[in-house]
């Protein structure tokens, strides 16, 4: 065990059991999986992506490139989980990944032997011979070898949700700068959200043994956190990562509600996506340490210096027992002293600099630590690190250590500042990229802005928090900045030990070496984006946190340009990877989209209806009866019943728009190709409206209920679109028109009653005095009255089926009662409820156009409405409908079809070819839009668009349907298979 006897922010009283690769271990509350593994002396945790090299834990945070595991099992398996940020819980199960058969013995590590050939760009230059081998041989092998963890095989069983919140000041990061920023803005009374990805606020204060106001820094952090938690206007969100900066002050954040638990508590989600809307934001995301690149730098035991320090101080874990430090900056020296103070042997500090502040050297020496200046690590040894070779003062020596703590300096976490496309700027003084152009109303504080010393971070945080609140009008007393000892932050840029042995990894996860960068350089992939794309540098799950700057620096040294001349590293959302479950939230499964139910839904359900999705609506598709085994059997019965006697269907889903005002007629004349201003009160008319480009937008019936009152119906699919179009006309095009519109789609339940006995049935439900006779309610009549004993109703004499038909609209709450009353009234006539399948059959029999014909690709002329278009007025789409391409007589035009052999089935989507013509694009004459089996005729019938169709009635063409093996002869006929004269519906 490598658990230190004392110290740390773990709860030693709470022991947690977990497994890694099937072996059981113990840890404590407050551990991460990584700290617990280290405490159990587990050093080898993963295999690299390309060469399958053994790898150990490198970091203590989100930048981890190596320690990726499959967390949990079964349907909850989470691939590629960073052990360094996974909070330990009792019963945690983790497995190493990308290895076979085991972590210790990974057969694909044979790739290491091939590594001389597998350099950058290798794939692009090879696997091409013979040509057929790529897909059959090479690619399958590559695919199998690629990837890291395995995604779960079953649906994710945990719920997710999303939420929105609003604040004045969002503070991102609860380290020293973030805590001070939140304190300043919070005390001023602003609504503050303080978000931190960690489960413990404090950031670096928990990882270092600094003092603030004379107290341990972690204590100070806990005290400030407690004060913030007590303020009603401050919301503290730990385990919450702000991952993206979007427009207008919108921030995306992921709250890990239950990732630290075996399963989510009852009724809680696993994770919650937050959309945080902030008037101002302070980014205090800290900084990430970067390594120095040298040969053998991927050996388990080589870690970032700050990580070693974090494991020792925060988790009371000794990552090793004999540590050497390899660095180019002062901060690493303080880390070495803290490691030493915890009782771990520090063999040496190797610093690339020739001179280091005397005080640091003295402190180190006083603690008995060797200091080697102008030093380099040139090689490493051991499967797990056992020794490093060092060159210093021209002498080489081998140092026996089990841990090498490396620090190449720190990079501010500028990620979020880049999300609007702004590029960071190079700051020579700290040898790092600092925020450049940042998103509007976002300020950066502390280490994230390059203010690395603790004192500077506290001061900067307080100032930025106060400034944000003040800008929003909150009177801000600047909080006292607590006292801390000054520290030095000197650094001399140093990136790569060129004269070192073994592969020198820049990007550990993607196995990109310094040599790969040289290849990219030689082949001309020198711009930073080409470098990244060609070598895959920085493209792994750690998004190049520890590799981007180093890679850039190595390229700069090759080209002789400066780092900023070579390029900048920019970052795209998300800051750290976000689960798709959280981004989807509640909207999955049946809740993917809200369902709309008709007023008769329960009524239809009780009658055994089979429902079908029609856009958002669920509609009755058909009503099977006992003994019916096939949907077509039910549909045929329903159609026959309607044509023979009477049936009813809920048509409430049509869009209905009330139009009131003196100018409604004028408006409708401009909307429809035909005229409505002349429509008599009490009458309805079928209309077609176009888009401004001249193609058909929608159709429907509009009735005039009063001098200044019309009601329009639209298709179900286009209800919202047509309403929006009307508002555009009234608000934008013709605002002087005095018309008010209101959607009444939801107000009125509407039931269509069709069949020769429809009037008989209707007469039994209307109240006394409502005349539904052919005189009282003639074809295309529209009247208001009452039904069912005083229920307001709108009665229309319309027919979609071709039969005598009525539509009865009643306030929606009465919809089911109306349906039931009609059923009772029709019992004597054998009234039959029918679904949209039967409705579709009857409209095809009648030759009406519907959704399949209103494809947005058809003109009024194509659909046979050419003569309906008024020539006496302008209307939307008129001018553009006259373009040559839209009036070309060769355009496919609406006609009907029947199979020459009546036993043959028609299929919508079949294309028409002349008999004997080759099946080729040039011979394509149109296609079948809709088909149905007509029980009336006893064979299939179809509607379609055919070149010069109406001129070719009686001619035969091929209906060519190779995707379903169909190729039959059909006869062209008029679209209207029953009652072409319309005697039935006028009856």
């Amino acid at each position: 065990m490598s658990r230190l006897a004392k110290g740390g922010l773990i709860d030693r009283a709470r022991s947690l059991a977990f497994t890694f690769d099937g072996r059981s271990y113990g840890g404590h509350a407050g551990d991460t999986l990584a700290s617990a593994l280290l405490a159990n002396d587990v050093r080898l945790v993963g295999r690299s992506f390309k060469y399958h090299r053994p790898r150990g834990i490198v970091s203590a945070g989100a930048e981890e490139p190596n320690a990726l595991v499959e967390l949990r099992a079964g349907a909850r398996r989470e691939p590629n989980t960073r052990a360094t940020v996974a909070e330990l819980f009792d019963g945690l199960e983790a497995q190493s990944q990308n290895r076979w058969p085991s972590l210790d013995l990974d057969l694909l590590s044979v790739n290491q032997l091939l590594s001389p050939f597998l350099g950058a760009g290798f794939y692009y230059k090879t696997f091409m011979w013979p040509a057929a081998f790529w897909e059959k041989v090479y690619e399958p092998i590559i695919r199998r070898a690629a990837g890291l963890g395995r995604m779960a095989e079953a649906a994710d069983p945990d719920p997710y949700e999303k939420a929105s919140t609003f604040c004045d000041v969002l503070v991102i990061g609860a380290g020293p700068a973030g805590l001070m920023a939140a304190l300043a803005a919070g005390r001023a009374g602003a609504r503050v959200i303080l978000a931190d990805e960690d489960f413990l606020a404090g950031g670096r204060l928990n990882a270092e043994t600094r003092e603030i106001d004379g107290k341990p820094a972690a204590e100070w952090a806990a005290r400030v956190t407690a004060e913030l938690a007590s303020l009603p206007n401050v919301r503290l969100m730990t385990r919450t990562t702000v991952f993206g900066v979007y427009d207008s002050g919108t921030y995306g954040a992921l709250e890990r509600v239950a990732d630290h638990l075996p399963v989510p508590p009852p009724f809680q989600p696993r994770q919650r996506l937050w959309r945080i809307h902030a008037r101002r934001a302070v980014l205090a995301a800290g900084a990430t340490e970067r390594p120095i690149v040298f040969g053998g730098n991927d050996r388990p035991g080589v870690m970032l210096a700050g990580a070693v320090r974090t494991y020792v101080n925060r988790f009371a874990v000794a990552p090793g027992h004999r540590v050497a430090v390899f660095a180019n900056n002062d901060d690493a020296w303080r880390g070495a002293l803290e490691i030493k103070a915890a009782g771990i042997e520090v063999a040496a500090i190797v610093d690339v600099r020739k001179a280091v502040a005397a005080s640091l050297v003295q402190q180190a020496k006083a603690k008995g630590i060797r200091t080697l200046l102008d030093g380099r690590v040139t090689a490493t040894h051991g499967k797990r690190l056992t020794a490093v070779d060092i060159v210093a003062d021209g002498r080489t020596e081998r140092l026996a250590v089990d841990t090498l703590a490396v620090s190449g300096g720190w990079s501010p976490n500028v990620h979020l500042t880049c999300h609007h496309g702004g590029k960071p700027a190079w700051d020579e003084a700290i040898a790092a990229f600092v925020p450049g152009i940042v998103p509007p109303l976002l300020a950066v504080a502390g280490a994230a802005s390059g203010a690395f010393s603790l004192g500077a971070a506290l001061t900067d945080g307080a100032a930025q928090g106060a400034e944000a609140a003040e800008a929003l009008g909150f009177p801000v007393p600047l909080p006292d900045v607590p006292a801390v000892a000054e520290e030095s932050v000197a650094i001399t840029p140093f990136w790569h030990v060129a004269d070192s042995r073994g592969p020198a990894f820049v990007d550990l996860q993607n196995d990109v070496t310094a040599k790969d960068i040289t290849i990219a350089y030689k082949e001309g992939f020198r711009s930073v984006e080409h470098l990244k794309r060609y070598t895959t540098l920085g493209m792994a799950t750690d998004q190049g946190r520890t590799s981007n700057v180093t890679g850039l620096a190595i390229m700069a040294s090759l080209t002789g340009a400066s780092i900023p001349e070579t390029g900048t590293t920019i970052f795209r959302p998300p800051y750290t990877p976000v689960s798709l479950g959280a981004l989807g939230g509640h909207h999955r499964g049946k809740d993917f989209r809200a369902v709309r139910l008709t007023p008769t839904h329960e009524w239809a359900k009780a009658r055994g209806a089979v429902f079908i999705e029609t856009g958002a609506w669920l509609r009755a598709q058909y009503f099977p009866r006992p003994g019916e085994t096939d949907w077509l059997e039910s549909v045929n019965r329903e159609v026959k019943a309607v044509r023979a006697s009477v049936g009813l269907i809920d048509v409430s889903t049509f869009g209905k728009i009330d139009l009131q005002g003196p100018d409604v007629g004028t408006l409708l004349d401009r909307l429809y190709i035909n005229t409505f201003s002349t429509l008599a009160i009490g009458k309805a008319r079928y209309g077609v409206m176009l888009r401004e480009d001249g193609l058909v937008m929608d159709d429907g019936t509009t009735a005039r209920l009063g001098a200044e009152h019309y009601v329009m119906t639209t298709t179900t699919a286009n209800a919202a679109k047509v309403y929006q179009h009307l508002e555009f006309c009234l608000q934008v095009l013709w605002p002087q028109l005095d018309v008010s519109i209101a959607s009444v789609s939801e107000q009125w339940a509407q039931i269509a009653l069709a069949g020769p006995r429809a009037r008989d049935v209707l007469a039994r439900v209307v109240d006394a005095g409502v005349d539904v006779s052919n005189d009282g309610l003639p074809f295309m009549g529209a009247i208001e009255g009452t039904v069912l004993g005083g229920v307001k109703a709108r009665l229309f004499r319309l027919s979609f089926s071709g039969e005598l038909g009525f539509e009865i609209a009643v306030p929606a709450r009465h919809g089911a009662a109306l349906a039931q009353a009609l059923m009772s009234a029709g019992e004597a006539f054998g009234i039959t409820p029918y679904g949209i399948e039967a409705l579709g059959v009857m409209r095809i029999e009648k030759g009406h156009v519907s959704g399949n014909e209103l494809s947005g690709q058809t003109t009024a002329r194509d659909l046979g409405f050419g003569r309906m278009a008024s020539t006496k007025k302008d209307y939307i789409g008129r001018v553009m409908a006259g373009r040559p391409g839209l009036v070309d007589p060769q355009r496919p035009t609406f006609v009907g079809f029947k199979p020459v052999d009546p036993s043959q089935r028609l299929r919508a989507g079949a294309h028409f070819l002349k008999i004997g013509a080759a099946a080729s694009l040039e011979n394509d004459e149109g296609y079948m839009t809709s088909v149905a089996h007509s029980p009336h005729l006893g064979h299939w019938i179809g509607l379609g668009l055919l070149q010069r169709g109406p001129e070719r009635i009686g001619e035969r063409v091929r209906a060519y349907d190779p995707v379903r093996g169909g190729d039959i002869e059909v006869e062209i006929c008029a679209p209207g298979f029953i009652d072409p004269e319309g005697e039935r519906l006028r009856g």
Binding site: Y246, D247, S248, G249, T250, H277, H420, P440, R670, E692, D693, A720, Y723, Q724, E727, F728, Q731, V732, L733, W734, P735, Q736, D874, R878, V879, M880, G882, R883
Partner: protein, 102 residues
């Protein structure tokens, strides 16, 4: 992205449906060159990289057409007016208000 609806206040863009260029005027359909002018109106766009006047319809709110000035490079919004106010506002005489067909 939040659209400052003049009536409802700031709302997420997904409450709106977008139409685009709000500087276009429906041409006079009776003009002798109406086909050319309608072709321009329906199809040609300035598509500026920068300030853009555009129509957003607040479908899930007040159902008003809102004329928004937004920068297409930064998505920064300079202002928004209801269609009716945009029409009435002074300084909007540069011909970028949808006109009335006779």
């Amino acid at each position: 992205m939040r659209i400052p609806c003049p009536y409802c206040g700031e709302r997420d863009a997904h409450e709106f449906s977008y139409l685009g260029d709000a500087t276009l005027t429906r041409p006079d359909p009776a003009a002798p060159d109406a086909p050319d002018r309608f072709f321009d109106y329906v199809y040609l766009r300035d598509n500026p990289a920068g300030a853009h006047q555009e129509w957003w319809y607040h479908a899930y709110g007040c159902r008003q057409w809102v004329k928004v000035e937004r920068n297409t490079l930064t998505h920064a919004i300079a202002g928004a007016r209801l269609a009716r106010d945009a029409r009435d506002a002074a300084g909007d005489a540069a011909g970028n208000v949808p006109g009335d067909a006779p």
